[in-house]
Amino acid sequence: MSRLNSGGGRLRLPGPDLGLELCGIRLAHPVINGSGTFDAIAARRAFGEQLGERFPFSMFVSKTITPEPRAGNPPPRLYETPSGMVNSIGLPNKGLEGFLLDDLPELARLEVPLCVSVMAPSREGFATLVERVGRRDEVAAIELNVSCPNVKSGLIVGEQPSESRALCEALRPLTDKPLIVKLTPNCADPAAVAAAAAEGGADAVSLINTLRATGLDPATLRPWLGAGSGGLSGPAVRPIALDQVRRVAAAVEIPVIGMGGIESGADALAFLAEGASAIAVGTASFRDPLAADRIRAELAGELAERGLERLPPVPLASTST
């Protein structure tokens, strides 16, 4: 593996040009992180300055923040499943003020564009977050998390096209930063929600968030997770994610950021082929904090093997069915 770790995201690599522009943001390659699956601040404590030198993501997406601080859900928060895991973390975060004060300056030290993921229980809450975060120069983009299965927010925005359109229309005027809507897989027709978000003014959509799931403690037959249930991620969900990315990409003109169980360059290429402009690595980073770097290198290899000099400009999949 380390053989493949050829120099991290910042270096210009030999072989295919993986560079792209996403909502006007220049990215060195299409591999970013899934919100809440990589904490650059904690990782700097664990890995020291090497983190910056070999930072594997071309854009950094923060863990979702909320207007008020949240402690998160009671433990246990993790349950391992066949080829995946269920989490019930529950969006622990310092809240808007704490984030702007403590975390944002830290994250700004990263040499890649910064995307801040936000979530609120109300439209007003979202408005405050978008306005306050959008004002900061360190921030390149904002992701609207309308799809976390681990918080009971009054909103079911993510499940309903009309709600998604309305939210985007309300938030669009509040910032000129790109707005990325993070879609839920827990609905009948993600493509309809994506299309509505686009109509409402979203600049991009990202998917999938985790699938509602649970597991029992074999000893007690009670739900293992402190919160009772959580969200499934990892390779187990990849075929579901790939199908949803494909349907969404076929339904919208705006860029799609694809994720869900991506573990290899071949996986990443499949999502790009199905219409994603960029892909995110989540759970795979837990197995290897540099997984994204390996995936980026493998992706370059996959393109080179196919004699491609750059990323597929048109979704290959659009011609395939």
Binding site: D39, A46, R77, L78, T81, F286, R287, D288, P289
Partner: protein, 282 residues
């Protein structure tokens, strides 16, 4: 606070150079050619080639305290004491010589120095139970190197669960066992309370690692006597480097800490209880 040794960024592959049975446990040793020498209390996330089995588990890496670390010719030999309780530990326990151990680490906060826990501390009491004595082996050695007087108290359920003793071969320890097969018949905390009665106890700090029930007993004992105490705790972990927020431990003041980055060594005064849902196994 003792500075952690940062880990090389990324998972690396190390050769397994020993895998020996000790009681019901295994001691697995690997040669780390890229990593630094870890400090007592730090841990590694471990996996193997062919991780993932018939049931699709283990999927995530597993956390293990380093039990001993010996720097040598361009490599550090890392020893891990492990008990096969599920798919991950079973796969690790089956590692053959020459196979590769995939690891990330050293991770987490090492044990504090006695003086960091209690200014003017003049001794240490190490309390371990079952598999939990692993990190106390390297702690004992590093305290000895620093010339800190210490007592080591180890408790075991039965002979099968006393394999960790192997790690204390050449050092003086007092033992307790529930089945009475070795030392005092009963709990290691019985030994601790006796020690803490001693008039030299005042200047001592306590380090403990073991099953949640034992840690909680130690925490309560020390709290009652106002004795500084640091616990090495366990919870399920997905990443080990602060990114998943899965390893939450409730704080006395409310809220949670991430055990992988704010621990696994925890000042007993900081937490509500050592009985964390989902954590550990005896």
């Amino acid at each position: 606070m003792t500075d952690r040794i940062p880990a090389p960024f990324g998972r690396r592959s190390c050769e397994v150079v020993a895998n020996t049975a000790t009681g019901g446990y295994r001691i697995v040793s690997a040669l780390d050619r890229e990593g630094p020498e870890p400090l007592a209390g730090q841990f590694y996330m471990l996996a193997t080639d062919g991780w993932g089995g018939p049931g699709g588990r283990p999927y995530l890496p597993r956390a293990f305290s380093v039990a001993e670390a010996e720097p040598g010719e361009g490599a550090v030999r890392l020893d891990f004491l492990l008990e096969a309780v599920g798919p991950g530990t079973s796969r690790l326990a089956a590692l053959a010589l020459g196979e590769r151990l995939l690891l990330t680490g050293p991770l987490g906060r090492p044990f504090s120095k006695p003086a960091e826990l209690l200014s003017g501390a003049d001794g240490a009491v190490l309390v371990g139970g079952g598999i939990g004595i692993a990190p106390l082996a390297i702690l004992r050695r590093s305290l000895a190197d620093a010339g800190v007087p210490q007592r080591v108290l180890l408790g075991f359920r039965d002979r099968a669960h006393s394999g960790g003793l192997e790690l204390f071969r050449c050092s003086e320890v007092r033992t307790a066992s529930e089945d009475g097969h070795s030392g005092h018949q009963g709990y290691v905390t019985d030994l601790l309370s006796v020690v803490l009665e001693g008039d030299d106890a005042a200047g001592a700090v306590v380090y403990a690692c073991g099953p949640p029930a034992m840690l909680e007993a130690v925490r309560v004992l020390c709290e009652a006597r106002g004795i500084a105490c640091e616990l090495a705790m366990e919870t399920p972990m997905a990443c080990g480097f602060g990114s998943c927020f899965g390893c939450a431990v409730p704080l006395a003041g409310g809220g949670y800490m991430r055990l992988c980055v704010d621990g696994p060594t925890v000042n007993a005064a900081e937490i509500e209880s050592a009985l964390v849902a989902g954590s550990g196994h005896t």
